[in-house]
């Protein structure tokens, strides 16, 4: 056995992390790889901490020798990287020496690097090397899988996004479709209705010739229906013109435009309604004059139409002011007003609040669309039996 202790070069090749301790447990010889971590002549107990076996072994020669059949794990005490070796003690009885043949416990390239270990430090037969290699292969495979997983996730996310977009577009289209459907339904009804009444009146007229009665009355009714049909067509055109035509800004005087529109209405209807203007000094503004005309015509004619016929001082007020950096206009009347449930629907397309007075249900809808186009807003307040006021705003445009 002494020969073995002396043939350290052979042991070095087989177990480069070996050491030999004497009876006093002093490390008297270290392998070439372990020598970088352990000085010769240092005490075994001061150098190593006994990780395993966890109990039953003491730092004496006899205790270790009698446990020679066990696997030992020793970790370096003064090493922050937890460097440890795993192996077995072989007692060399002739000299009371203990030979410890071991391999370092490292499970990854990182641990190798931390401890400055190279492949060359290991014996060629060391299974730890093979283990490290397998771990490396597995790690790389895992990394690749993770990368693929990530890109797959990203692709799924992209698809999900795309799906959501498509769904939004789909919903938009569905809404446009259903709006269009509703539009066609309402328009065909509203165009057809007066035609059918004319048709019916004509049938009466043909009958009436025999009996020689009120033909004149039937014809006047037919004329009314024709006017209604014409109004419906005009309003549909106005709606489409607003939707289609580009905004055309020009300078105009709001006061004279309002007067002009009110007078036209007034002349047409010959109804005693007072028009009260409350305007600032400067009423010239830069906006789309023809759209504003459509808007005022709708609002003023509503105020006239829904006046209280039983009062003598029917009135329409029109005010202009600048609030929060934009124009604010209010068209108010002391007319019949309306209930809350009607009020909240008056800007809907084809909505008519009352059957008592004729209408297409388009005027306020178009007004709202006009203001949408011009970047303004519109809202209404009303008290049943007291009157209604419509407020609309317009941005102040620079010429």
């Amino acid at each position: 056995m002494i020969q073995i202790a002396n043939e350290t070069s052979l042991i070095d090749v087989l177990f480069p992390f070996y050491f030999i301790a004497n009876k006093q447990l002093k490390i008297i010889k270290t392998g070439k790889s372990l020598s970088r971590f352990v000085r010769e002549d240092s005490s075994l107990e001061e150098t190593f901490h006994l990780e395993s076996p966890a109990y039953g072994v003491e730092f004496t020669h006899d205790s270790i020798a009698s446990n020679a059949s066990k696997v030992f794990v020793l970790s370096l005490r003064q090493n922050k990287n937890n460097f440890s070796v795993k192996g077995q003690f072989i007692p060399l009885p002739d000299e009371d020496l203990l030979l410890f043949v071991a391999s370092p416990l490292v499970n990854s390239e990182e641990e190798m690097k931390k401890n400055n270990l190279l492949i060359n430090d290991f014996a060629l037969h060391d299974p730890q090397l093979e283990l490290l290699h397998q771990i490396n292969v597995l790690k790389k495979a895992q990394q690749r899988a993770e990368e693929e997983n990530f890109s797959l996730h990203k692709r799924i996310e992209d698809l999900h996004h795309l799906n959501q977009e498509t769904e939004l577009k789909n919903n938009e289209l569905r809404k446009i479709n259903s709006d269009l459907d509703n539009f066609v339904y309402c328009v065909s009804h509203d165009l057809r209705s007066p035609l059918l009444s004319i048709k019916g009146l004509l049938a009466l007229v043909f009958n009436a010739y025999d009996l020689n009665i009120d033909v004149d009355k039937y014809l006047r009714m037919a004329e009314n229906s024709i006017n209604r049909l014409d109004l419906t067509i005009q309003e549909i055109l106005e709606y489409s013109r607003n939707a289609r035509r580009a905004v055309n800004y020009e300078w105009f005087d709001m006061r004279s435009l309002a007067m002009e529109i009110f007078n036209e209405l007034h002349l047409l209807s010959d109804i005693p309604v007072q028009f009260v203007l409350d305007m600032p000094e400067e009423t010239r503004m830069y906006s789309d004059k023809s759209r504003i005309s459509v808007l005022l015509k709708n609002l003023f004619s509503n105020a006239v139409k829904f006046r209280r016929t039983e009062i003598l001082d029917a009135r329409i007020g029109f005010t202009m002011s600048i609030q929060n950096n934009q124009y604010q206009f209010v068209v108010s009347d002391n007319g019949i007003g309306m209930q809350e449930d009607i009020l909240k629907r008056i800007f809907e397309m084809f909505y008519r609040g009352s059957s008592a007075l004729p209408g297409t249900g388009l005027g306020l809808y178009i007004s709202k669309e006009v203001l949408n186009k011009l970047g303004g807003d519109i809202y209404a307040e009303s008290t049943l039996g007291m009157g209604t006021s419509i407020t609309f705003t317009l941005p102040i445009q620079q010429a």
């Binding site: 339904y185 209705s193 009444s197 009146l201 009958n207 008519r352 009352s354 059957s355 008592a356």
Partner: protein, 127 residues
Amino acid sequence: MKHHLRFILIDDDDIFNFLHQAVIKEVIPHAEVLSFQSSKEAMEFVSNGQVSETIFLIDIRMPELNGFELIHAIQNLPEEAIRGSRFYFLTSSLDDRDRTRGLSFKIVSGYLEKPISIEKIKELTGF
């Protein structure tokens, strides 16, 4: 044969009410014809009074209550309030969905197209 001599016309377009009344009178000069421009007022009338043995001609597209809402409300009245009455939709709608929906009400006897003709009134009343 028992003839219906009372009609109630409900249409927001007064010209149609006038026209349909004239057609009815052509056929049955002594018929009693009530017309309502407001579906709400018509509903009030129906729920307050006895309207048995009456032919109702009801428009569909109206402000306030539309024809479907009106029929729905009438259907919920006690049966004796409308005993022997018949209900027809009379409309200018060409929409299939309106026809299907109109005929799905169990108290509705038919779906007629405007303007109503003398022949149709004769057919409905047996005059």
